[in-house]
Subunit: 259 residues, 4 copies
Amino acid sequence: MRLLFIGDIVGRPGRRALKENLPGLQRELDIDFVVANGENAAGGNGITREVARELLASGIDVITMGNHVWDHKEIFDLIEQEKRILRPANYPPGVPGAGFCVYETGHKGRIAVLNLAGRVFMSELDCPFRKADQLLAQLEGITRVILVDFHAEATSEKMAMGWYLAGRVSAVCGTHTHVQTADERILPGGTAYITDVGMTGPRDSVIGVKKELVLGKFLTQLPRRFEVASGPYQFNAVVIDIDDETGEAREVRRIQNFE
Amino acid sequence: MRLLFIGDIVGRPGRRALKENLPGLQRELDIDFVVANGENAAGGNGITREVARELLASGIDVITMGNHVWDHKEIFDLIEQEKRILRPANYPPGVPGAGFCVYETGHKGRIAVLNLAGRVFMSELDCPFRKADQLLAQLEGITRVILVDFHAEATSEKMAMGWYLAGRVSAVCGTHTHVQTADERILPGGTAYITDVGMTGPRDSVIGVKKELVLGKFLTQLPRRFEVASGPYQFNAVVIDIDDETGEAREVRRIQNFE
Amino acid sequence: MRLLFIGDIVGRPGRRALKENLPGLQRELDIDFVVANGENAAGGNGITREVARELLASGIDVITMGNHVWDHKEIFDLIEQEKRILRPANYPPGVPGAGFCVYETGHKGRIAVLNLAGRVFMSELDCPFRKADQLLAQLEGITRVILVDFHAEATSEKMAMGWYLAGRVSAVCGTHTHVQTADERILPGGTAYITDVGMTGPRDSVIGVKKELVLGKFLTQLPRRFEVASGPYQFNAVVIDIDDETGEAREVRRIQNFE
Amino acid sequence: MRLLFIGDIVGRPGRRALKENLPGLQRELDIDFVVANGENAAGGNGITREVARELLASGIDVITMGNHVWDHKEIFDLIEQEKRILRPANYPPGVPGAGFCVYETGHKGRIAVLNLAGRVFMSELDCPFRKADQLLAQLEGITRVILVDFHAEATSEKMAMGWYLAGRVSAVCGTHTHVQTADERILPGGTAYITDVGMTGPRDSVIGVKKELVLGKFLTQLPRRFEVASGPYQFNAVVIDIDDETGEAREVRRIQNFE
Ligand SMILES: [Fe+2]
Ligand SMILES: [Fe+2]
Ligand SMILES: [Fe+2]
Ligand SMILES: [Fe+2]
Ligand SMILES: [Fe+2]
Ligand SMILES: [Fe+2]
Ligand SMILES: [Fe+2]
Ligand SMILES: [Fe+2]
């Protein structure tokens, strides 16, 4: 099975990048399943029903989220209805939505997608490591093809998760920093790993935001309403080849397309 | 002028990587000046007189530091005596050592090296943006070839610094996360930029530390004495071509060598 | 001179507490000057022109602020026009408003009020200790009666400021935690000190906010729009007796009135 | 039942304060049970076997801990052997020691002591609110006299815990900030509450540490080895009267003794 994982889609430029790049990649690379982090898809913050529909119509099979998941109120209903949107699984019990799900890819069999969030420099969620253990126990016997989006800030927490799940899942793809890292590799046991897949959004920006606004914030410490930058996009993703039977990743390759 | 900037050197494996890679690179790439971040060079924490001598003898021209700069007591004397070791310039006035210096490269002219540290998720230093302004004013008329090591955690603060100094310095090289990013580029005005140059140290580790120790920390929240991992190394660096006259960067290229 | 410093006024219940308590206290205690922290006076977040007018009309001479200072847009104009509103002095240069001012109390002479904010667990401002040094140098020869509102989270940073300014100012009053501390004392050199003056606002709340909302936040980690609690108020303040000539504090006394 | 809860005991001055104050208080106030936070009892950091023996011999029945619990290596064995030392219950499963225990007070019946730690501005532990629910379920039918030491930084998290447990436990005593708060009260349902009991240690200090060292840290941002201050002590505690049958608190009173 060939999987495409797309880094945080930011606003309109990110969605344009998606529509201009995904069809071609699917054709050229013969992609079986597409997962994208969509936590910044609607104006840079969260996702709306309409934007979710747009992403899913563009060819994305599953949308994962992160700390921005709750930015738009309609997510609370949407995430209960739409099984193709996941939020970090390590929110406390009782929170709307699901943090993992098993999907049918067609003749290539099933794939499980897990969304987890880090805690270092972030918010006070349940332990993502122990939550991973619980979810993997539930997947026993259902599928060995398992993709994890670990949405986290600290490189240490992300690499630790990579090693923790090495040999137990097909891939651990980091998200959240909006900068693609150059450390993609196959960890022992056949787990594809990358610290951060990067951002699909406006290139001449500070992680997607108008650079003047972010600089103003750093220089004055005054609050600024952040807006998504305009201009040419970047498309950041990874392609992962997975053995359908064993769930082992054979190859992981970074993709960076520019407008 | 061709510059080599080497990402955080971690412990013995990092120093071995240095000695096995630098001479060859210098020969093949015709490097004029070598800067390396050495904040983890001595056992993963800080630097000692002996390790500094070792690094400088291996071909490094200037050692920059970061939040680990003060881990060994002897740094307090050492940094006053050795002009080739810099610590972040935005420590409060009166702190030992210097945060920038101008060096002679020989027939290629002068180069200024600036070391700055971020504040987001880090400690309460002076504003690195305003400090950069001050130092650049001091360099007026002395040299236009200026390299900045911005040692910071958050991608937003690092990219903001890149844009802030675009067209004003030759290069902004991020350090600290120990993971090389794949976003190297020449910003408008001729400034080479990369969010993080990465780590020169043990590859099968969590940012240089034995992975079992870091995982134990995350799983139990008990304190652990971290030790540098052993095993094969990675060598992370960037090569930057700079116009000696204008100080503009023409090209930046990532380097990753593995044992 | 007898000074009254009132802890963070929170929303409507805080303003009601002010109006029901201040006149009586002024009469009974013969207060010469009233300073209050007003960063939460307008609906729990920041201050508006109308609320500022209300506070000043209620008998407050100077309003200090904190991290919530910029919550309402109109503060940007207001703070430039109204000298009786201060924001933390250790914002970067160029930020609207002032962080200190000297006021005439009438026949008791002048008083300087300084507003500073902490950095530990808060935002990346300039060093409040060095900023205090600068401001005190400017006050040399103008007045020895100096009140500092140090708006900070960590008890360590607040006590450190108390000791740093002991013998140099008349009083260091901590604000921000919304809980009055029981450590009021006169430090050597005649400086009144208290780690936190507390909150003037709704008593049956979590630091002023409806408790159900805060508990919901802690239990689910979902974002909540915080609202000021209703119900009976608490009025928190300190009375400080200062020698008009020397600026030395002779006594500090806590006040807690309940509805 | 009359309970005495003593705020964080810091180093030698704290232990001296204990020995000079506890016997008298026990006699005068007819105390039935004494709990003290001992996380800083040994030289300011953690506890040792010898110091624990000293505290228990001085009349303390149960020692609670906090974020400094693991500072001395011998705690790992000690806490497994000594049921009178508790560490925060919301460490992950498998961590040495216990976070709650039921004790016999003699003819006044049983008392349960729970130790919990906050997460805001602290480390990544399990949710203290849900952990409290679990432990209270285990205490069902065993005793209604329940004391909670909630070791936390943020006033919001502490007050939230007070309200969460109001009517379910006898007392919620906050610790960790080393400054006694003046907000002691009986919450609805008969729960004694105070945001922080304060510190039993050297008075002329920054939360127990030599003030010169802490000031040096704030002014230079250089690391400092903190040492417990010397000089006169303060003894901080609360006395709580609890109905043995219903477990309801009838009164809570702050104690501050000075040398
Ligand atoms: Fe994102
Ligand atoms: Fe995110
Ligand atoms: Fe480093
Ligand atoms: Fe670092
Ligand atoms: Fe406030
Ligand atoms: Fe505040
Ligand atoms: Fe403590
Ligand atoms: Fe503590």
